[in-house]
Amino acid sequence: MADPHKPRAPFAPWDRRELPGLFDVEESARRIGNYKWAEMKLFEALGGWVATVPELDVKMRLGTHCYKHAWHSELWHKRLPELREMNPERLTQPANEAMVRFVEALTEPEAPELTIEKLVGVYRVFIPHFISAYTFHKNNTSQITDAPTIRSLNFILQDEFDDWRDGEMLIQSLIETADEVDRAAAHQATLEKLMLEAGGIAGHGSIGGATSPSVTAY
């Protein structure tokens, strides 16, 4: 056994984490407030839709996914005070006005014949944008100073990928005609344009590029 008193390097050779990160505390909190707002809107919509879809398998899946997104919003709610935001509601906001319009358009379908539209909005538009915003955050925040956020992102991303796969398989199983392919594509395009305007879950700069003014590199 090695001498226990012999000095060892504080970081093991296999520990390649880095200190620099793209977000300061304030920017991280802002993004997390946007995530919480969006996850809340998603779990509310999924819950509301359960009664409106006649397909039993879809009904059960929406109920299951409703909880997952509620749990994500809870994780973000708990993270906000750790980022110096003692009033989490203050930052629980949509990224911008276009994001509000996106959610309104997402939740518009109600009729029992519109299950494809409901699922397309969630699993082909909203959740893919969550995955990209979360992935950008995970890969660009400080791996040491923001480790608690990264831990939550890892849990949440696992859920998002699982749910995206569930939803995509449901959509593929529901689409049986060329007209339905067109319906799905048209609804996706409508929502995607609104999301483009919004710039993503956390607004413009959700996945880099046009960064918001408070984003600085260290």
Partner: protein, 281 residues
Amino acid sequence: MRTFFPVEDLARDDRFNQITMRDRMGDARSVLTSGEAAGKRNNNRLTPSRKDASDAARGLMHGIFVGEIQALEGAGRTCFDFETGTEAPFALKLDMARQAWDEARHVEISIMLSNWMGTEIGQYAENTVLFEAACSSDPVLRLAGVNRALEGLAIDVFTTMKEFGDLAGDPYLEFCEDWMLADEVTHVKMGSDWLRRLTEHDPERRKKALEFQGVVDKLFSYGGTRSDSEESPIGLARRFRELAGFSDVEVEDIAAVSREALDERKAAVARMQAAATLAGA
């Protein structure tokens, strides 16, 4: 999508046949049958020794299945219908989302158990009264009507079905009912906790909620389906109700309402029998 979704619009596939409480109350057939129709038995509790045990258990399981669907829909709607903060606390909505997941699992379990018992989806009618109780415009009334009254009934039903599985030598049924029972105790406790928290400084609102719960309890005691008496198919699970946050007084109140409903139904059956005798004379 609208807030406050009407019961008439609940979405179902073609296998389902929905009826209202009015339809059910107008049905001449009853859970509590006369001595002759029930094969001269004076014990109506759902046990394997009953001549109609298999069919009664299958019917009850289908009732559980559709009840779980409506409970899922009700919990989901509470997530959507109320604005967070101003109309319903964030934490309450998180609880309702959790309940939606639990109810979704219960639907899955009920489908598998129904299949195990030889029942097809839609073989029995679906009474939509559970969702009706989930349509109140006040979230506290929903919690009182659904989480405390109806989920409380679910505690009684699952306890009876668990015992049925045990007596019938069906560990599969007993195992599943035990797991669902654990969830239901959690849901009722959730309802009890939120009712107390949200009405702590509003006695009038609490009174209204408890009155609504009483109405739902009475509605579901219709025909003496559930009571302490062995004449009722479903017993009152006092111990699990205690765990779920019911006080002794509350349990006694439900027992009294159930007993009253049983007596009312027996009197109605006696009147019908007397009228039939007179008509035949």
